[in-house]
């Protein structure tokens, strides 16, 4: 490890009494590559699931669903509520095993997905549909979505008096084994496998099913879809529902891995997921998937090589650099063909 201080930056540090030198440590690429890659993949796939809530809605409406971050927040609290209040596991409850563990986690997962899907549909009805029906300016929908987001955020702040909450450790974090320092812990493996299954199912649904084809049709041309007899409102509601389901799955995984939540948990997650969607090419299903993974990896390696304080700087530098050369994101060129 060696410190690399840039002259101008160092002067600024001295002026502001800061200590934020860049410690570039390239040795981690060799010593911790697999460990960081595994963690980056797990984190990135959570981002990818949340980014679907942005990218699918953008695909059909050409609008950013700013309330999706709060849908995620709602999902984390839904998971907590199910585990602690509905199933009665308090914070000190022992970890579960066998069939009981499987059905408890499956129940919490489905409950979180369902809660988020319902909330996403409500967001669509309240913030988008009525304004759309009255031919309102597109910006009006954007503002109404931000309004719903703030309502949900502040509502949860009041309910929880802004306090963080923890969930019981129902899933004991045992390990399958290590590979070159990468620890294949059960929660890490689950966070990788579950999103991949969800993506494969969703990809097949969008590309092969009749409803999926109608979503793609609306995303390509709303007017032509109407002429072909597609119920636009139904397709939009379905899109919000799917975004809610994937965001709910992400919320469950987040709560199971990190075992905590707070009213503003969606803020950073929303920024990360939106960044992943833009990086991959917003409106593109596979773009969200690869954008999420790329972001997760980038965060992990930037934190390890440069120090965690440079994580956000690195991520957004790379994002801007990518957009300079590929303005539609990494998978932007395929947008017209594979848009959700």
């Amino acid at each position: 490890m060696w410190p690399l201080s840039f002259g101008g930056v160092a002067t600024l540090h001295n002026t502001l009494h800061l200590n934020r030198s860049v410690d570039m440590n390239f040795s981690v690429i060799t010593s911790q590559f697999w460990s960081l890659a595994l963690q980056g993949l797990a984190l990135g796939l959570i981002y990818a699931l949340v980014s679907l809530g942005y990218t699918m809605v953008y695909g059909v409406l050409r609008l950013i669903n700013f309330a999706n971050s709060e849908v995620f927040m709602f999902g984390t609290f839904a998971t907590l509520y199910i585990e602690v209040h509905f199933l009665g596991y308090d914070i000190g409850a022992p970890s579960l095993h066998g069939f009981k563990l499987v059905y408890t986690l499956a129940f919490a997962l489905l409950a979180s997905m369902l809660a988020c899907a319902i909330l996403a549909i409500i967001v669509e009805l309240v913030a988008y549909r009525r304004l759309r029906a009255r031919g309102a300016n597109r910006l009006a929908s954007l503002i109404s979505a931000i309004g719903v987001s703030i309502f949900l955020l502040e509502g949860m702040r009041i309910i929880t008096i802004s306090r963080p909450m923890t969930t019981p450790r129902l899933l004991d974090k045992w390990s399958f084994g290590e590979f070159h320092g990468a620890n294949f812990r059960i929660d890490t493996v689950m966070t990788i496998v579950a999103p991949i299954i969800i993506f494969v199912v969703l990809d097949q649904f969008v590309n092969r099913s009749r409803l999926g084809k109608s979503i793609r049709a609306v995303s390509m041309s709303e007017e032509n879809s109407k002429l072909m007899g597609i119920n636009i409102n139904r397709v939009i509601t379905l899109t919000f529902c799917i975004g809610g389901l994937t965001t709910g799955a992400a919320a469950f995984l987040y709560t199971t891995v990190y075992e905590n939540t707070i009213f503003n948990v969606g803020f950073n997650m929303g920024i990360a997921a939106f960044t992943a969607a833009v990086l991959g090419g917003i409106g593109n299903l596979r773009g969200a998937f690869y954008g999420g993974i790329a972001l997760g990896m980038l965060e992990q390696f930037a934190s390890a090589m440069l120090g965690s304080q440079w994580k956000a700087v690195t991520v957004f530098t790379v994002l801007v650099a990518v957009l300079l050369f590929k303005p539609n994101g990494l998978f932007g060129e395929a947008v017209q063909q594979t848009r959700t």
Binding site: M1, Q32, S162, G181, Y258, N264, A304
Partner: protein, 384 residues
């Protein structure tokens, strides 16, 4: 305009003015019989326990004072900063604008103190902080110092930081330190301040700064494990410390975990779960229940509803008593309070003498205590 109307208006105006003056006289007299102190700290939010642990000390002190039927009664109002500088910058002007408030017991956090200074300085409102410990707040050379309104009854991090390194490495042969901070006004300097002592005691194998509010600490855990560190010191607050320590234990780190008074709150063991066990914490505070007699403790519980006093109840009690001493001397204006606090000599609950230097620190400093998490409870261990 009609002359009658003009003269009528003039009479009405004169009458109103006269009545206003007369009416304001008893109002001022009434105000002299009751003054207000404000407590500013986090009462909600991720760091709420810090403020919730302190405010009973202030409530208890004021209740004891009012019970003596003094000529001037004291009321307490609460200003919830959420330990957030941005929130503090919004609420401090409101507190300053309340003319009844003649002193601020606070702030709890260092970042919020800095952001509150402009409003309180402009209003001449004296602050006595129970726990804001960043060195810069009383550093005459620092641009964010609180002179002349800021005072604190807690030893600053220039004392706590080396004590934290000492206590973290206690009993460890050849300690290898990994020092992490949360990039806040409090956590950054605390962690940085621990480095010289850590280098004296052993080796520093790594440092990192992770922004407060980060969700994922797995990359930090990987780095710490790969570094071979056996002592991790964290400069930051409870919620993030809980997340970091969980990630470290889940990542296979088995060495010592240590943090300062920002983490030393009664909700820490609950938030960190099993990862909290054995965590070493410091605080420039003597536990209130070790100072009070059983009868006083019972009285404290009766008044505040709190069975076991939390961290910095003692300093909050001392800070409040300094204001109460001044009030009982007849200092009932903001300027009189400031003069009294700046130049006075006061007695702490532990029998210590509290006198402030020019920049608001206690002359002679204060001891730093070491605490351990045992069976889900933070217990006082020894002087750090």
């Amino acid at each position: 305009m009609n002359k009658k109307i003009v003269s009528g208006l003039a009479i009405a105006a004169a009458t109103t003015l006269a009545l206003g003056v007369v009416a304001s006289a008893p109002a001022n007299a009434a105000a002299k019989k009751s003054v207000t102190l404000a407590f500013q700290g986090p009462l909600t939010g991720g760091d709420a326990q810090l403020g919730q642990d302190q405010i009973p000390g202030a409530i208890y002190a004021i209740a004891l004072y009012n019970a003596k039927n003094p000529a001037v009664k004291v009321e307490l109002i609460k200003a919830d900063s959420q330990c957030d500088g941005t929130v503090a910058a919004n609420i401090a002007p409101g507190v300053a604008a309340n003319k009844a408030v003649i002193g601020v017991i606070g702030t709890s956090c260092s970042g919020e103190a800095r952001n509150s200074f402009p409003a309180y300085r402009a209003a001449g409102l004296t602050m006595i902080a129970p726990s804001a410990s960043a060195v810069s707040l009383t550093d005459p050379k620092a641009p964010d110092r609180g002179f002349p309104i800021f005072h604190r009854v807690v030893a600053h991090d220039g004392f706590q930081a080396p004590a934290l390194a000492r206590y973290a490495a206690k009993g460890v042969t050849a300690p290898k330190f990994y020092v992490i901070d949360d990039m806040t006004t409090y956590g950054g300097p605390l962690a940085k301040g621990a480095l010289p002592q850590a280098k004296k005691l052993g080796t520093v194998v790594g440092t990192d700064s992770v922004a407060k509010g980060t969700a994922d600490y797995t990359s930090v855990a990987s780095k710490v494990k790969a570094s071979g560190a056996n002592v991790v010191i964290y400069g930051g607050y409870t919620t993030d410390a809980a997340k970091l320590f969980k990630a470290l234990r889940d990542g296979g780190y088995t060495g010592i975990l240590a943090s300062g008074d920002g983490t030393n709150t009664s909700d820490f063991p609950g938030l960190a779960g099993k990862a909290a066990e054995g965590v070493r914490l410091t605080a420039a505070d003597v536990p209130f229940d070790k100072i009070l007699t059983p009868a006083q403790l019972a009285e404290f519980t009766k008044i505040t509803g709190v069975k076991v006093p939390g961290l910095y109840s003692t300093t909050a009690f001392n800070a409040t008593n300094i204001f109460l001493d001044c009030i009982s001397q007849g200092k009932l204006t903001r300027s009189a309070i400031q003069l009294c606090v700046n130049s006075g000599s006061f007695k702490g609950v532990g029998g210590d003498v509290i006198k402030f230097n020019r920049y608001g620190d206690i002359i002679g400093g204060a001891p730093v205590g070491g605490y351990l998490v045992k069976n889900g409870v933070i217990v006082y261990d020894s002087v750090a």
